[in-house]
């Protein structure tokens, strides 16, 4: 092979290797889970509280894993329920959160998650009643929790009683039995903060923490807090 030919082959192989490296890095950095984020930074005037409304469903009812448990969020722009559970929120802003809990419950694996913590007043309103502790060993127990671990924020979501449980999301509040849980918290400084459920509700998986519990956008996501 001529000197020029060797040079071309070497250059070609180098470019292929470089492209592989770039591709591998891009794949590594690209989230491999479905869903996206909802922007709440333009839904209210600066300094005003953000209203964030979500629901928990026993089965999402669509997508690649229709039987998995999931959270859904009400799109502030369209008012539609979507499975986009990463929320872009303004920093240092009060968030009024309302959760419609449509799933059944059970005793908590660790009752420590029955203590409301990290919200304003370390309490939440459940069906109009202010509570700071939910005893998961009575009644329908706790179906899910909403928690932001890095903020030490935890809110238990009591389970729904009876057999008439919504089977696929999105669930309508005027049609299916549910518990309405509301509370407020203040976003911290800019950064990414994960939120998750602490109830091992990924049934059928080891320790109940597989499936929807181990897939972003089902029982966990992020608060993408941005400065404004």
């Amino acid at each position: 092979m001529s000197k020029g030919g060797r040079l071309v082959v070497s250059l070609g192989l180098f470019l292929v290797a470089a492209a592989l490296v770039v591709w591998a890095v891009a794949v590594y950095l690209t989230p491999g889970t479905p869903g996206g984020e909802l922007n709440f930074t333009n839904t209210q005037a600066a300094g005003q509280p953000v209203n964030l409304t979500v629901q928990t469903v026993g089965s999402i009812g669509f997508g690649p894993h229709p039987t998995w448990v999931s959270y859904m969020t009400k799109d502030p722009a369209s008012g539609q329920w979507v499975q986009d559970n990463t929320w872009v929120l303004p920093a240092h802003t009060e968030v009024h959160m309302t959760i419609y809990q449509f799933d059944s419950g059970s005793p908590l694996r660790n009752q420590v998650w029955g203590q409301v913590e990290g919200t304003q007043g370390n309490s939440a309103t459940i069906n109009g009643k202010t509570v700071s502790v939910v005893n998961s060993n009575v009644g329908a127990g706790v179906g899910h929790t909403f928690a932001i671990p890095s903020l030490n924020l935890i809110v238990p979501l009591p389970g729904v009683t009876g057999n008439n449980i919504c089977g696929a999301g999105p669930c309508l509040a005027n049609k299916w039995p549910h518990n309405t849980v509301s509370f407020s918290f203040k976003t911290p400084g800019a950064g990414n903060y994960n939120w998750q459920c602490f109830v091992p509700c990924g049934l059928g998986y080891l320790f109940g923490n597989g499936g929807g519990m181990s897939t972003e956008n089902y029982m966990g996501g992020f608060l993408d807090v941005v400065a404004r």
Binding site: S106, L108, N122, N137, P149, S150, F198, P200, Y205, N209
Partner: protein
């Protein structure tokens, strides 16, 4: 060793002197300027010992680095071929020098063996990096550790400044929580410790294997389900530290961390008392304090973790070589 003339012995003596002087300077500078700031800090007696071990390793390593660089520098500046000078020596004389090789192998062997012995002793000695941790630690700190642990298990333990403080670390996907048996067994997401106090960590898990790593405390212990891993430390001054899970445990493993603090004994007592009162309603719903808890492996249904008695293991009865 390309040098093969009468100046070689003289060169080696000069290299030796340069190496010795620079090594002493570098070691002294390191010891006084860098050493006090080496990881993991001096927040606990364990951390202080870890820092000391690392500093000693560095003190031993720095002369080796200086020796290699000095020899390399001397050879570059003194033993290269010069313009219009004699031809460099080739052949075996350029490839080996039995005397230098022997000294190098012998000295590095002695150094490595000495450090291996030192490292092993540092690991298992009191407040060492590893000996005081596990289901059966080989050492225990001074004081009535066994009595305190027994009282914690029986629900009769109390704490006041100067006493040993048992703290239970509970790993679960994906957060560590902490139980304080000396304050009614309340469980919290925050790890607050009193200064100048012997701490006994009892580490366990409710699901998969986690690892409790309080880096600045010099404490790292696996959190295994059904196992009570014991780790001791003795806090010194006040300060903040971070707790991370160091065992890959699932999707949110990277987010399984929290900050802790060593505070004054009076501040700690105030915090613990107020937290005990604030969480009293929920503490009443927690299972009785036990070394381990046995949750239902099938998930949430029936997954309450009330049973510390299914596991026959009792750390109080078996751990601590000093008991005998």
């Amino acid at each position: 060793m390309a040098k093969n003339n009468s100046n070689y012995g003289s060169d080696l003596r000069k290299i030796l002197w340069i190496w010795a002087v620079i090594s002493i300077i570098v070691d002294v500078l390191f010891w006084f300027l860098v050493g006090p700031h080496m990881a993991p800090g001096r927040l606990t007696e364990t951390a202080k010992n870890d820092q000391m071990d690392l500093n000693i390793l560095m003190i031993c390593a720095l002369p080796v680095i200086v020796g290699v660089w000095t020899y390399w520098g001397w050879s570059l500046t003194h033993w290269g071929a010069k313009q219009n000078g004699p031809e460099p020596i080739g052949g075996p004389a350029a490839r080996s020098n039995l005397k230098v090789q022997t000294w190098w192998i012998a000295s590095s062997s002695v150094l490595v063996l000495a450090l291996a012995i030192f490292g092993t002793l540092a690991l298992i000695m009191d407040h060492g990096s590893g000996g005081g941790e596990g289901p059966n630690p080989v050492w225990m700190p001074d004081g009535p550790v066994t009595q305190v642990e027994t009282a914690a298990l029986n629900g009769t333990a109390t704490w006041s400044p100067g006493k040993i403080l048992p703290v239970q670390v509970i790993g679960q996907q994906w957060k560590f929580t902490y139980r304080y048996p000396t304050f009614g067994g309340f469980e919290t997401q925050q790890l607050i410790l009193p200064a100048n106090t012997t701490i006994v960590f009892n580490v366990t898990s409710l699901d998969v294997i986690h690892s409790f790593w309080a880096y600045q405390l010099g404490v790292k212990a696996d959190a295994n389900p059904g196992v009570n891993d014991v780790a001791f430390t003795e806090t010194k001054g006040t300060g903040n530290f971070e707790v991370r899970c160091s065992e890959l445990c699932g999707i949110w493993h990277g987010a399984m961390y929290n900050s802790g603090a060593v505070v004054s004994q009076s501040t700690f007592q105030q915090w613990a008392t107020s937290t005990q009162a604030a969480t009293a309603a929920n503490t009443a719903l927690l299972p009785k304090f036990a070394w381990t808890y046995t949750p239902d492996a099938n998930g949430a249904a029936g997954g309450y973790y009330p049973d510390g008695n299914l596991t026959p293991y009792s750390s109080v009865q078996v751990y601590g070589a000093k008991q005998s």
